[in-house]
Symmetry: C3
Subunit: 135 residues, 3 copies
């Protein structure tokens, strides 16, 4: 089964959408299976991270921001704005697809795991995510 989600990201950083995926899994009615999440962009990515303390997510965002700063003299691909090339690098270092088992009709996430869209660009954007479910 295939479903498509749109996640609106109003700012760079982590945007949780665990509950939307959980609802699709619940509607799917599979007792056991696999849920695969795919983001259809190269300047946003996916990650599973701690969903408890927001300071962990802020530190994660700040750390990657420092590792991949804008206006690096190495960059030649600058026509799409200073946040474009860093966004491709950040996407390459994180994930475009994630697969999560379904156990007892629900995502087999650990207690502290949330599913996040990682927006790497500035500006209001709407990101397309495809969800595949199978037994």
């Amino acid at each position: 089964m295939i479903k498509e989600l749109r996640i609106d990201s109003s700012r760079p950083g982590l945007h949780e959408f665990t509950s939307q995926v959980a609802e699709i899994v619940s509607d799917g009615g599979l007792e056991e299976g696999l849920c695969t999440i795919f983001v259809r962009h190269t300047s946003a990515s996916l990650t599973i991270q701690e969903n408890a303390d927001p300071s962990a997510r802020r530190d994660l965002e700040a750390w990657l921001e420092r590792l991949v700063p804008e206006r690096d003299k190495l960059f030649t691909h600058t026509a799409e704005g200073p946040d474009d090339m860093p966004s491709h690098i950040k996407a390459a270092l994180t994930s475009t697809s994630l697969s999560i088992p379904i156990v007892d009709g629900a995502l087999a996430l650990g207690t502290w795991q949330g599913i996040y869209l990682w927006e790497h660009r500035r500006g209001r954007r709407s990101r397309r995510i495809v969800i595949h479910l199978a037994g």
Copy 2:
């Protein structure tokens, strides 16, 4: 089919569990299919790496340790210990899920590929891993 494994990690770094996954695949009896491995934690992760020379794994661990050191002044999420925030970053840079095809009844790993749990925290821990098999 779903199976759960527990991997005990007594120290930070790479812990191989290829043989446990291979046994689950063998027991599953699928000639062709897909084996997906998912770790239910945000301070440990998964990787497929060279299983031959242990020096390659030690260098990999040391390199990531240097890239993401403890006690970085940028960190505000420090309440859970100095090794907690680096562990979330290291998990984000590696993998939470891996999918390996099954061919002729066995994992289609290359000759030099082993499956590893990458423990990013200190102390004796038991990590939960979910394995999904399908044809």
Copy 3:
């Protein structure tokens, strides 16, 4: 369904093979499903990246090259050549497996997404990739 591809990489960097995967998906005849791609090596990896402007790929390659330089004093695993240990690190930071949903009989890639083998070693090499398709 399982298919194996060989991708010849004559130089380090990104080698697109989207059209080969698309052809396998088309031949498979699935209207809906999941395509999983797995690389059987630890010194090459997979990534989905922008397929439009080649400068984005060149900058991505150059950035990772600078992050993981050869002849780092930290390396002890040097017997297989100066490009071997950096190649394992680069593989760990990117992906060994990717899963892409199949929608309306085709890969659900975004407009600007291409599938790439990322060769991390020098010299002419032939890399083995396994493709799994399921509904």
